[in-house]
């Protein structure tokens, strides 16, 4: 062993770029040395085996994304259970490793590093909040770690990330907005005021809604940006022009309920038509008394929270698997409302990983390139157990999936889908092409 060690001390001096060849040896002997000296480090030093496929789940367990994180984790566990019950991926069981990123971009980047270098996972998935995605994605690219986000953000589809980043489980905001704008202008009105969070996630709406509305002959008359840390919103409401036909709102974080409540108090029954992204009340019980005013307003939903009359068998199956009742609440606690409209993305992402790994014959990290190429080769997803939200088109160039969107109306304390867009409604010209980047 001492021979090897001297070897290694020489090599990096002459050529630091040769590190990669040293890595295996270095890690192995290094681990040996350390674990023999200090038992505390043993768990870091587990040698790579060919046993399970490890998937790193970057989870918003704490911070402002926590309520999403909790449900995303639940969905991920349910999906992994099914995959493992059915024999895993390529005959290997899937092991889920969860790390909390605190909904913080800095920590997010560190978590990706930890997955890549300590847990040595095969892929990372699950990030929702855009700023965390943007913080973590570059590290994923540099570490050559497949990074599959469930975020709706346009950062993947616009081509601003890198070849290792995918969003196969949920449609991006640009497509969502584009597909719904015609319905909004036709059914609710042409003068739109938007209220959105003043950071990444809101910008996707800010940048994409006005052109989409304009294309339908409508107009965005006022754009009200609210800082993400805001806890009270009444003071923003007077800025809504009185001639507004449609109020378009999108809010995230712990203050969502306050926002909706204050909106209700402000307007009472005399209000413009209101169209919101479900994010504004995601994980919030619609039966909360202050939300009565939402009755008759409309929401975008990725997947309808309340089981619909024409509920598909796949929705039924999926609900049962993640333990959610027909009202979108936890079966164990009817007050615990899920993030139903978004969290299916985690489910579909996991089954996409399975599909791509199987078609790539993935056997270990050395097959990462094949895995990426297999992902890029996917063209569509059929509705089914693996994709309960509906069928989707996948664009291998910008790594983005495009699916159907639901527009639901609040009726009493539930929501009913009144319109389901077609996939074509949400298509736009894709300029990004990650496949040109090297692997």
């Amino acid at each position: 062993m001492s021979d090897k060690t001297t070897d290694k001390t020489k090599e990096p001096k002459s050529s630091i770029t040769r590190r990669s060849t040293l890595l295996g040896m270095g890690a192995a002997t290094g681990a040996g040395i350390i674990s023999s000296v200090s038992p505390g480090f043993v768990r870091y030093a587990q040698a790579q085996t060919s046993e399970p496929i490890k998937l790193g789940f970057e989870c918003h367990r704490t911070g402002i994304g926590a309520s999403y994180g909790r449900w995303y984790e639940r969905v991920a566990n349910a999906a992994v259970k099914i995959i493992n019950d059915e024999g895993g991926i390529n005959g290997r069981p899937v092991q889920l490793i969860v790390e909390d990123d605190g909904t913080d971009p800095k920590r997010g980047a560190e978590v990706v590093e930890k997955f890549a270098t300590q847990h040595k996972v095969d892929a990372v998935f699950g990030t929702l909040f855009s700023h965390v995605v943007v913080g973590a994605a570059p590290r994923a690219g540099e570490l050559k770690m497949p990074y599959l986000v469930v975020s709706e953000g346009t950062h993947v589809s616009s081509g601003s990330l890198n070849r290792y980043c995918f969003q196969p489980g949920i449609t991006d905001v640009r497509s969502q907005v584009t597909s719904m704008a015609p319905w909004i202008t036709k059914n609710l009105g042409k003068k739109v005021t938007m209220i959105f969070p003043d950071y990444a996630f809101g910008y996707d709406h800010r940048d994409n809604l006005p052109p989409a509305i304009k294309a339908q002959g409508g107009q965005v008359v006022e754009m009200i940006a609210v800082p993400p840390t805001e806890t009270s919103f009444t003071r923003y409401l007077p800025r809504i022009p009185t001639d507004t036909d449609v109020l378009y709102h999108i809010m995230v974080g712990p203050a969502v309920l306050t926002f909706v409540t204050e909106l209700g108090q402000f307007y009472g029954s005399q209000r413009p038509a209101i169209f919101g992204f479900i994010d504004s009340v995601e994980a919030v019980n619609l039966a909360t008394p202050q939300l009565g005013f939402l009755d008759g307003t409309y929401f975008w939903e990725g997947m309808p929270r309340y089981a619909q009359k024409d509920q598909s068998q796949w929705d039924k199956l999926y609900r049962a698997a993640v333990g959610v009742d027909d009202n979108g609440a936890s079966k164990a606690d009817p007050k615990d409302i899920s993030t139903y409209a978004h969290m299916y993305g985690v489910w579909e992402t996991l089954f996409t990983i399975k599909q791509a790994m199987q078609s790539a014959g993935y056997a270990g990290p050395k097959d990462k390139a094949k895995f990426i190429e297999a992902l890029e080769a996917i063209e569509k997803f059929d509705e089914g157990r693996d994709h309960p939200q509906g069928d989707k088109i996948f664009n291998g160039k910008n790594h983005q999936a495009y699916g159907h969107q639901n527009i639901s109306k609040v009726n009493g304390a539930r929501m009913d889908v009144v319109h389901r867009t077609s996939i074509e409604d949400g298509m736009y010209e894709v300029k990004a092409d990650y496949t040109k980047m090297s692997l």
């Binding site: 060690t5 290694k8 001390t9 990096p12 630091i16 770029t17 590190r19 890595l23 270095g26 890690a27 002997t29 290094g30 681990a31 040395i33 350390i34 870091y44 030093a45 367990r61 704490t62 790390e99 909390d100 605190g102 913080d104 971009p105 800095k106 980047a109 560190e110 590093e113 930890k114 890549a116 270098t117 300590q118 040595k120 855009s130 700023h131 943007v134 913080g135 994605a137 570059p138 590290r139 540099e142 003043d198 950071y199 990444a200 800082p227 993400p228």
Partner: protein
Amino acid sequence: MTASRTMRVIALHVAVLAALFLVQFVLPDYHYLAMTRVMVLAIYAMGYNMLFGYTGLLSLGHAMFFAAGLYGAGMTAYYTDLGVPLAFLIGICCGALLSLIIGLVALRTTGVAFMIVTMMFGQVAYLTITYFTDYTRGEEGLTMPASARNFDFLGLHVDLTNAVLRYNLALALLAITLFVILILVRGPMGRVLIAIRENEPRTLMLGFDTFRTKLGALVVSGTISAMAGAAYGLLFAYIGASFASIQYSIEALLFTLLGGAGTVLGPLLGSILMFYMIDIASEYTAAYLLVTGVALVLLVLFFPKGILGTIRERWLPWLP
């Protein structure tokens, strides 16, 4: 006597640096990366220690200097073609300038007022970053473009995505910082800084311009912290507003307190220990910041001098 002391001090620090150099050949991947990060954070804490440990000024807004370097360097690399080395320099200059301005104002206060004033300035800096979201992308932050990851410098091709290079760059910066601080604190300036910490009115009446000395200490401290920030942004390719938050200022305080305020190596030791404490804690609980809180309270109650401070007091009086 003094000469042998000097030799001992130099030997110790060279040994520490040599150890850091050598561990890179045995560190597992994750810890290799983690240590790279920790070394940069240690530079930040060492800068903080100049002010807190040696001069006795407790700042609660030091993240603004780190952020000045981070954004000064990061935004330059992101928006201009000036190149990474120049961006790094600009980052450091931003920190120096900011610390000079803050110092001229904040040093008019002392004690608790200084702590609150620096905290408020730190908060202003944080809000400024989020206010200019169009340029900084606020909380979301910016990711360095490929052009800032690869560059040619003095005829050498530098690839910042290379982990080995990054580790050794961080180590080199750490070494430079270590020796700059060592020279400063063991020299005449260090003696005056400590004198200010121990008894400021007396130091003034010994004929030292304490305001200017404190200002000097703050600028050195801010500049070193800014250098850490600039290095962080360029090495890890991401800049974001959370680096300017109060919590980040407190981390510097925590690293320094743990390792030993007023010791050259204390912040390094504190950074390493704290990083791993939080890292290990985060595997067991989402509330890993609990470690931070408990550490702060225990330190201030039972070990106000920190690890190296206690060692110096009990066993090694020559420790700088």
